[in-house]
Amino acid sequence: MTDHILEMVNITKTFPGVKALQDVNLSVERGEVHAICGENGAGKSTLMKVLSGVYPHGSYEGDIIYEGRPASFSGIRDSEKSGIVIIHQELALSPYLSIAENIFLGNEQQKHGIIDWNATNLEAAKLLSRVGLSENPVTKITDIGVGKQQLVEIAKALSKDVRVLILDEPTAALNDEDSAHLLDLLRGLREHGITCIIISHKLNEIKAIADRVTIIRDGRTIETLDLDADEISEERIIRGMVGRDLQSRYPDRTPDIGEEVLRVEDWTVQHPLEHSRKVVDGANLYVRAGEVVGIAGLMGAGRTELAMSIFGRSYGHNITGTLYKNGKPVTARTVRQAIDHGIAYATEDRKRYGLNLIDDIKRNISGAALEKLAKSGWVDANREQVVANDYRKSMRIKAPNVGVITGKLSGGNQQKVVLSKWMFADPDVLILDEPTRGIDVGAKYEIYSIINTLAGEGKAIIVISSELPELLGICDRIYALSAGRITGEVDVHEAHPEKLMQYMTMEKE
């Protein structure tokens, strides 16, 4: 009989307007490495947040059975006390504290409120040797690399007597060597009876380490595959991740494609802090008038970095390569210059980078092209309101008037404000980064219609998305991006999700 350490039964989690999880089931056997697979936005991270108590008991429906008993975690401390520890993709270490201090942060080795530094450093050293990290415990976190930081996180988890260790994309930021070391470590933990749940996009890794894999798509469990028993190919997993019908979710469009508008040649971008890392590596791409071009890539592939570096070098270090606009080389060193060259970029993170959330709709819409409403510095506020109101109606922004603060709008309506802003700037090339992230299905359809209309007006559109069906549904041509390199270019009529996913998960040769 199989011994399940953890079972999640019929978990349903709703956010305002979006059902993130619906009747998700997950059962994890004691001492196994269980992988969770799915596209970005499928609900993997939400599921793990439910499990670790980030979303406390009562904020979701369904049951968590842990060690044979129903569990109701009220917070992350609660779940950690029972031995469930999550390590997030964004590491939660304090950079200017030492390794030992980080390991025991919130769980200090102390007597009557006084920290016992000898015990702290001694215990830390033991934990470090368990994870195979030969660093002095008093070394500051900022002085060690990302791979080693990941190991410190695991050491920290071990210090809490972890029984179920959850790793969210643990190797996304690691190089091959560090990744291999991490996978070895996970195998070692399995031998010590620690159960691991690993979220990963890297299918070869999953094949290498996991015993079983559960596939989640659109907030539902699709299937659980036993990697040990059956011969499961990567293609088989991919089919589970992407397989869904594409009909009727995308409005029709007859492409009318004209001349080349933007071309990027040999584009290379270094990471702003770690200069040795190339986030974008020798990328070549072009887009024509009236064409919708997709960029497919998994998280960390360098999609946003590519787009933002093109958009007035708003990301990256030591950017090299050439930008051609209508066949002529141009330089766009600042966002202003990029806008003046007719390039626009609508961000994936509209709350942080797209909108002034404490200001109203009209001032957000006019934000990127205020000079069009101004004469010698004087803004015509009345015309601004007229313009904004036109967009509110044509884009169907659901708000009683354009004086509404954008922070109060739903995700879909916020996205329409961002799109309105860039439409008002009237660019020739519009780069849309995850234009439908966090938006419900109905609003998605409206966004697709807007994209079609813009393409119909002869604009060149680049859509970045991690949802393959979306790209297949709206694009004419798709580039696949993996580890900063363009690994494939396919016409949409010849594109298959499996093929694209292969390009997207292609490792460096």
Binding site: L355, I358, G377, V379
Partner: protein, 414 residues
């Protein structure tokens, strides 16, 4: 300009016209402006309170004139400060800059014998250069404004004491002194109950402002843009008129219009327009509201930061000249604590600590609340220790009210 796209199948949804006259509409409209209205009411309440407590002394023409003269320089500082705070910065150096510019004007005019107007001009340029210095460090080196201006506070205080050798410069020519404590000329030589020039200016200002409001409204109604309830518009127009006329008559029955009030009014008018209607002002709000979004919309946020500090330097120079003129001497210790008064005025006036929110009018009312409190408590014979205690409390309450208000709004929208 690109026309907004609309697909062929779409029809614009019919938006019901705003419920203009309905009382519910007005109340809803007012609820959204609770903060702005609340601070007005607070000012009126404080004025009434001290008018009663002082047995009518507070609103005597003589005292109103002195409230204006005593607070004008802090209000001038508050204009620049609110812009800095809207952009998400802070300026701790303005008190020292006031002293520094005052000292420089003393050297130009008294020591070197320059004509007073040239000395004033040169002093303003000195203020602008101080702003360039601090703006450079904030905008282009990226040092937080708190640090740069804390350093400036020490540096410019020290510089002032050095150039003055710790001895005040005095006396200034009468034209210079008039900037801080003079009045517009009395056309009848002081023989009338109400000084005529003040009346003319006051009435002209009232008619001009109200007519402008009506013109704007008419234009907006014609374009179908007006969403402000008519009743509220009239209340506002009447209130504005009564407010200006009341001050006009009060001032006219004493010595007329203080010159510093003319300067202050011109600055308030100018900067309100800049902040509401100029691209620059809008960029300031955008920068403070969301720095990244502003940058990714093509706003040159560094240039905005730089010019904000230059502007603050110029306004600090004007305030410095006004203060020096009023004291008729350039003092090494001038302006001590002014930065805190200006910052308090801005926050009482409803600006957000995190930036992006605030108005010039709000800061002016915040400054007046502080000024009336100061003056009223002095009239009651309360010591500076009690005044300081109570002012601290008012500042805390005002910001607490803001936070309470924000939470209420957040809960209501859920």
């Amino acid at each position: 300009m690109s026309t907004p796209t609309s697909s062929a199948t779409e029809t614009s949804p019919v938006i019901p016209p705003p419920k203009d006259e309905a009382a519910g509409g007005v109340l809803h409209f007012l609820a959204g402006r609770l903060r702005q209205i609340g601070i007005f009411i607070a000012l009126i309440a404080i004025v009434i309170l001290f008018q009663v407590l002082t047995g009518g002394t507070l609103l005597t023409p003589r005292n109103v004139t002195s409230i204006i003269n005593q607070n004008a320089y802090v209000l001038i500082l508050a204009i620049g400060m609110v812009m800095i705070i809207i952009a998400g910065h802070i300026d701790l150096s303005v008190g020292s800059v006031v002293a520094f510019v005052g000292a420089m004007s003393g050297i130009f005019i008294v020591n070197w014998g320059w004509p007073w107007w040239l000395g004033v001009l040169a002093a303003i340029i000195v203020g602008g250069m101080v702003g360039c210095w601090q703006g450079f460090w904030v905008a282009y080196v990226g040092i937080p404004a708190f640090i740069v201006t804390l350093a400036g506070m020490l540096t410019f205080r020290g510089l002032t004491q050095m150039i003055l050798h710790n001895v005040p410069i005095t006396p200034f020519p009468p034209e210079y002194v008039a900037i801080g404590s003079g009045f517009l000329p009395d056309l009848t030589g002081g023989n009338s109950t109400f000084e005529p020039l003040t009346l003319i200016l006051g009435i002209a200002a009232t008619v001009g402002l109200v007519a402008q409001e009506f013109r704007e409204r008419a234009k907006r109604v014609k374009m179908g843009l007006e969403d402000e309830p008519r009743a509220w518009f009239y209340v506002k127009a009447v209130f504005t008129a009564v407010f200006i006329l009341a001050i006009t008559f009060t001032l006219a029955s004493y010595r007329g219009t203080p010159i510093i009030l003319v300067i202050l009014a011109a600055l308030v008018l100018l900067y309100s327009t800049v902040m509401n209607r100029f691209v620059f002002g809008r960029h300031v709000y955008a920068r403070g509201g969301n720095l990244h979004a502003a940058q990714l919309s093509g706003v040159n946020t560094k240039r905005v930061d730089f010019w904000l500090f230059v502007n603050m330097g110029v306004l600090a120079a004007i305030a410095g000249i006004a203060f020096t003129a009023r004291s008729n001497s350039a003092l090494p210790s001038a302006g001590t604590g002014f930065e805190l008064d200006a910052i308090a005025a801005v926050f009482i006036g409803g600006a957000a600590v995190t930036g992006g929110i605030g108005t010039i009018t709000g800061a002016m009312i915040g400054g007046l609340i502080m000024g009336v409190l100061n003056n009223g408590m002095s009239l009651l014979g309360l010591g500076s220790e009690v005044q300081s205690f109570i002012k601290g409390f008012v500042l805390l309450l005002a910001v607490a009210f803001d936070i309470f208000n924000k939470r209420r709004a957040a809960n209501a929208s859920k």
